[in-house]
């Protein structure tokens, strides 16, 4: 007869049933919140296949309480019978989609390059520009984030007109870079801050220059963080509406402007609104699904020092 080494304490015994209850509660909460997050997306996508009576009756499940129709896709020229015909709407949509892609990706990349360098500098060296020290410089960059867009609206309109940058993708890219740069610097500064300086010191002793050490050693380590910063920038630039509406007209117009203009004097065609919204959110959803781990990893490094 062997002596039991570990005893269940009183509290542990009562723990069992309550553990199960709490498991159920945890999953209930998780599922509820997942529903809250996913239902609107489901609603948007299904609505693009509903006819007016289906929308009015609030039908929800395709094939069960309504028959999916190609209304939404047709309004964009993507329904089966329209896809091979010439469609002015589809041309317009594709043009805007392409513009959105180019602008969002380029500005996020540019912000990532500028921002990572600046963030690295801020985390490693002690700068002094006149009265500005590192903390002031950081605040200078971050304060751009606070800037309300209306402050810059008219000045930019005039400035861009003078520089012939109105209605150009380049103009939009520069402006978007400015708006997401603070976020990139914020995230990347924490990223670099969490990487021990011994790594570079060793590299420098080995004869690498500061830039060489940065590019060959630090950047690969900080890559998840960079991906996170890139995705966040992408989200913000892809969805930007105000400046896009203000500064573009024909050549550089983007998708959100098209979504917003689904309203006006003729009510809302829910299906086409929904089809456009789905198209506008789909690329980001795909990115979210495939690159989600980078976002959390990227933020983790800087979260707790």
């Amino acid at each position: 007869m062997s002596q039991q080494i570990f005893h269940d304490r009183e509290s542990d015994l009562s723990y069992r049933p309550s553990w199960q209850v709490s498991r159920v509660a945890i999953y209930a909460v998780l599922l509820l919140w997942a529903l809250i997050c996913l239902f609107p997306i489901y609603w948007t996508i299904t609505t693009s296949f509903k006819a007016a009576p289906d929308v009015m009756q609030g039908n929800m499940v395709p094939w069960v309480d309504f028959t999916p129709k190609w209304l939404g896709m047709r309004s964009l020229g993507f329904s089966p019978e329209a896809i091979f015909a010439e469609s002015t709407v589809r041309e317009e949509f594709l043009k805007r989609f392409w513009n959105s892609t180019v602008v969002a990706v380029s500005s996020s990349l540019l912000a990532l390059i500028l921002g990572s360098c600046a963030a690295y500098g801020l985390s490693r060296f002690d700068y002094r520009f006149g009265f500005m020290r590192n903390s002031d410089l950081s605040f200078f960059f971050l304060s751009q984030l606070i800037l309300p867009p209306v402050v810059l609206a008219l000045p930019f309109l005039v400035l861009y007109k003078e520089l012939a940058l109105l209605d150009t993708r380049i103009g939009l890219i520069l402006l978007y870079t400015l708006t997401v740069l603070p976020i990139v610097i914020w995230i990347m500064r924490d990223q670099f801050g969490s990487i021990p300086t011994e790594l570079e010191e060793a590299a420098l002793v080995d004869g690498l220059s500061v830039w060489g050490a940065f590019l060959t050693i630090i950047v690969p380590i900080a890559l998840p963080g960079m991906v996170a910063a890139f995705i966040l920038s992408l989200v913000l630039t892809w969805n930007e509406y105000f400046f896009a509406a203000l500064l573009t007209s024909t050549n550089a117009k983007t998708l959100p402007v098209m979504v917003a203009s689904q309203t006006g004097s003729q009510g809302i065609s829910w299906w086409s609104m929904a089809a456009l919204s789905s198209a506008a959110i789909l690329p980001l959803i795909v990115i979210g699904i495939f690159l989600e781990r980078f976002i959390i990893k990227g933020m983790a490094a800087g979260a707790v020092k």
Binding site: A52, M56, E92, G264, G267, S272
Partner: protein, 571 residues
């Protein structure tokens, strides 16, 4: 006759290889024979214009006699896609645009505008307006060789974008779709190009209804506008709410705003016969709409304040002193507040309903029984995918009032008064001076504008969801609508209400002064506060609006506003 047949073939078919007859020859024949295009086509059709068969370039098969004759043309386009077939699509727009190219072919040679690029700024509402124009102009582009770039604006961005372009000198468009209220901002500053005479001929401007004839559409005696829309608010009601045994218990729909309010109060708590949901009376939009919401309080107010002896009703023309806080206007605001105070008179959340919601989400979807809206609600009720009330809608003109306020005497008069509100005076297509820099571009721009404002294409636009409503005398030929599949009684009811409003002797026409939407916008903000109960009375709300209006007048310049206001009233 062979020649004629070939000629027709050209008109109907229009592919580039078929350019057998030169446009000049065609025109010369027309001149010499003093024969209208219509007669010529008709004559030809009877001799056997079956030769004109052939697919349009969109590749959609057409029925035989399609290209033959204008009457046929009008009835054919009305069948695209047909009443009850749901909303038209891009392919339908292109088809209609192709079929209506005739007038363009008469004046423009094929490929004449090769190399010309035009920029067109317009609205992008629910995929109508610009989307429609794109479809219509696609065949025009293919024929003339010009290329059009598009600036699409949300309605809410429209005013802002236009003003910014003007103020910063960035007018980057050649053709603009614009409402008449903005003529003060554009024509008043010399930004528009005067319409050439050949355009007037092409669009047959004499066909426009009376109130759209000059001075409306002109500025300083010059014509700038290719009208593509006529605007007035008409009264739409649910026929199943009225008549024997109906839930209102009244035989006739209301004739005055006093009755409208009575009915709305009585209906609270009852059930809608069509949908089984709660029944409601008149649908006031209580939320702003970038300035457009103000038209709806105007609808109530014009009956009280638009005195037949006085063209002015928003401001005193001599001083620009707002009239919006006179007893008539205050009564209109009070009427709305009365309904807000009546539990169940409005649908829940009405405080968050803008005009678009009341018309398309509520009325057409079967909620509420009375509505004021632009004429296009009539065609939308029958042809739009959103509508469930197509069979039970009736129309009338803006309700009147048992008494009216005379601002000259400062007294109420116990006389019946009605005054339809010509809200917005319609959209038009204008050409800017930017396009007028060289003759080829100018002609191209005007040709595109004229194509959109053409007599036949406009019939289609007023019959189908387009954002535009009837504006030509020729739109009121009821047989055409009947032939297209509309029910005769319905069409007479719907179109008749528009015609009655257009021709009303006491129509309330809005001032075309600069910044008019600023006045409306600030009024919306103050009204929203009043409706939410933040002001103690209707009078206080109206006083706040008046104060804000005075500020705007001073900012824009009182003297110039007075002069322009008087000019727009024809005083």
């Amino acid at each position: 006759m062979t020649f004629m047949r070939r000629c027709l073939h050209h008109v109907g078919h229009g592919t580039r290889e078929d350019n057998f007859v030169k446009v000049e020859i065609y025109n010369a024949i027309m001149q010499r024979q003093k024969m209208s295009r219509r007669r010529m086509l008709k004559g030809a059709a009877s001799v056997g214009a079956m030769a004109a068969i052939g697919g349009v370039s969109t590749g959609v098969a057409m029925r035989p006699a399609l290209a033959a004759g204008e009457d046929n043309l009008r009835s054919e386009i009305l069948k695209i896609p047909g009443v009850g077939m749901g909303s038209p699509t891009d392919a339908d727009w292109q088809k209609v645009g192709e079929l209506c190219l005739g007038p363009t072919r008469e004046r423009v040679a094929e490929g004449e505008f090769d190399g010309v690029e035009l920029t067109f700024m317009g609205l992008n509402n629910q995929n109508l307006h610009n989307f429609l124009f794109r479809g219509f102009l696609k065949p025009w582009e293919a024929y003339t060789g010009a290329k059009i770039n598009w600036i699409d604006l949300a309605q809410a961005d429209y005013n802002a974008r236009l003003q910014q372009s003007i103020a910063t000198g960035t007018v980057d468009f050649d053709i603009i779709e614009m409402g008449a209220p903005f003529e003060g901002d554009t024509a008043g500053r010399g930004l528009l190009d005067e319409m050439p005479d050949w355009v007037k001929e092409q669009i047959e401007a004499e066909d426009l209804v009376g109130y759209l004839q000059p001075p409306v559409g002109t500025w300083d005696g010059k014509t700038f506008r290719v009208t593509i829309d006529g605007d007035c608010h008409t009264f739409a009601y649910r026929k199943d709410y009225f008549g024997d045994g109906s839930i209102t218990g009244r035989a006739e729909p209301p004739k005055t705003w006093q009755e409208v309010n009575e009915i709305s109060k009585e209906l609270a708590g009852k059930t809608d016969p069509l949908t089984g949901l709660p029944a409601h009376g008149y649908l006031d939009p209580l939320k702003g709409w970038g300035g457009f919401g103000f038209y709806f309080i105007e609808n109530r107010a014009t009956a009280y304040v638009k005195h037949p002896d006085d063209p002015a009703w928003l401001f005193d023309p001599d001083t620009m002193k707002p009239r919006v806080n006179n007893p008539g206007w205050v009564q209109a605001i009070q009427d709305v507040m009365d309904l807000i105070g009546t539990e169940g008179a409005y649908p829940a959340d009405q405080i968050n309903a803008d005009p678009g919601t009341t018309a398309f989400q509520q009325f057409l979807a079967g909620t509420g029984s009375m509505l004021m809206w632009w004429g296009d609600v009539g065609s939308s009720a029958r042809t739009s995918d959103t509508s469930v009330v197509g069979d039970v809608v009736g129309f009338g003109i803006n309700p009147g009032s048992d008494r009216r306020y005379n601002s000259a005497t400062g007294e109420w008069e116990d006389t019946y008064n009605e005054a339809p509100n010509m809200a917005y005076i319609g959209w038009g297509v204008y050409v800017t001076t930017r396009a007028a820099s060289d003759e080829k571009t100018r002609k191209a721009a005007w040709s595109a504008a004229a194509h959109l404002g053409g007599k036949d294409i406009s019939l289609w636009m007023s019959a189908y969801p387009s954002g535009f409503q009837p504006y030509r005398n020729s739109h009121f030929q009821y047989e055409e609508w009947e032939a297209a599949g509309y029910d005769r009684a319905y069409v007479e009811d719907y179109l008749g209400s528009n015609l009655d409003s257009y021709n009303h002797p006491n129509a309330a026409i809005e001032p075309r002064i600069p910044g008019i939407f600023q006045y409306y916008s600030v009024a919306e903000d103050e009204l929203a506060k009043g409706f939410a109960g933040q002001y103690s009375s209707a009078q206080e709300t109206a006083d706040a609006i008046a104060a804000a209006w005075e500020k705007i007048t001073d900012q824009i310049g009182r003297e110039s506003q007075i002069a322009l206001y008087k000019a727009s009233l024809g005083m």
